[in-house]
Symmetry: C2
Subunit: 212 residues, 2 copies
Amino acid sequence: MPRDRSPTRIQKRNRATIIEAALDVFSQHGFRGATVDQIATAAGLSKPNLLYYFPSKEAIFTELLSELLDTWLAPLREIDPKGEPLDEILAYVTRKLQMSQDMPRESRLFANEIVQGAPRMIDALSTDLRALVDETETIFADWMDAGRIARVHPRHLLFSIWSLTQHYADFEVQVQALMTPEDPFAEAGAFLDTLYRRMLTPTVSPAILGDA
Amino acid sequence: MPRDRSPTRIQKRNRATIIEAALDVFSQHGFRGATVDQIATAAGLSKPNLLYYFPSKEAIFTELLSELLDTWLAPLREIDPKGEPLDEILAYVTRKLQMSQDMPRESRLFANEIVQGAPRMIDALSTDLRALVDETETIFADWMDAGRIARVHPRHLLFSIWSLTQHYADFEVQVQALMTPEDPFAEAGAFLDTLYRRMLTPTVSPAILGDA
DNA sequence: CTGACATTTGACCATCTGGTCAAACTCACG
DNA sequence: CGTGAGTTTGACCAGATGGTCAAATGTCAG
């Protein structure tokens, strides 16, 4: 196996190629359904060669997961507690929908894993993600307390955004099978904008409650 | 293999047991991840015995899928075009959420299959389901034309209901990991009711448009 | 009770799959 | 060049897996 010391040019290239190939294969077939040979072929390497860079199939998978989790959650961290609440939320929805369009493999990778009980992710879920979600919930709740958006269960609000945006990546074949030629993502953008606007626009003017 | 003629008592019992066991195993591991041995054990049969009732793993799976599709779509067929629009939709949402709570295995079985490209379902999707969805879309569109619910893209409205309700079954581990002791389904019911009420309540009184 | 048919099983097989290993090859660098 | 480390590969292995088969066992109508 490669030394611990600074990776060579070839190591960098091959590890990257393998991760990319693994994303392709794992997102299509899930962990169990993917074979090392498939990944190796997709990466243009022989199986033993691939296993020279990663000790096992499991290792490739966990490496991939941990590399991706940050990227996947980045849009959530960008929500600005000091911004205009509805704008912040709508912008987050847009970013998430964009990610579903641009990175459907990543979305399906997580979906596959979670549907099957997330055996290799539980830890990350209940620590890192948990903390981030708690933070976000506080932001939402504060906005609601200030009357700047309508009151709903803040955590379920977040779940709904995940669910609705990722649906277009995770269930793409279904959406496609039911949509004929139209472009699902364009329509989805408009639909989601309307949905969250109507759900979250306060019924009483927030101006009353003091920011003038 | 069993004769084509009327199934015996034992055949009926064992085929049912096998299907039930298969639902358990397939919904947890997906098609590829499930093994015939697992299903046989779960059904309390030996592997060759199981294969006496079904010619192959594939056959069990497709049988299971086709048996379940009807059940799964039943709530959709119950929408009454002559009913009060908002009530009909909210009732449909409630039925779907209830199904996610009562039949999470079924939900995950479909989720697994669709995330992986639905190789064994494409046909059903683009024929049977397609027709049903087209019908429903017309109902929604008519209601919107009559001003009885607010206007949104009707097909995406349907997608949103599927997405939001099935999320609580398909991504149960994630929801659980982020919810501590609370009961997700109870809160989800309230959340979804609010969401669809606010999104769909017409801004102009429908009475104006003539039903008095 | 018995024969015909239904059901069950242990033994077996071919293939797939994750992973190993020693030998061969390539490459950077003195 | 030459040499040692880094890289690649063919051959191989053990266990898992889908599926087969002939023989054994159970069931039930006549």
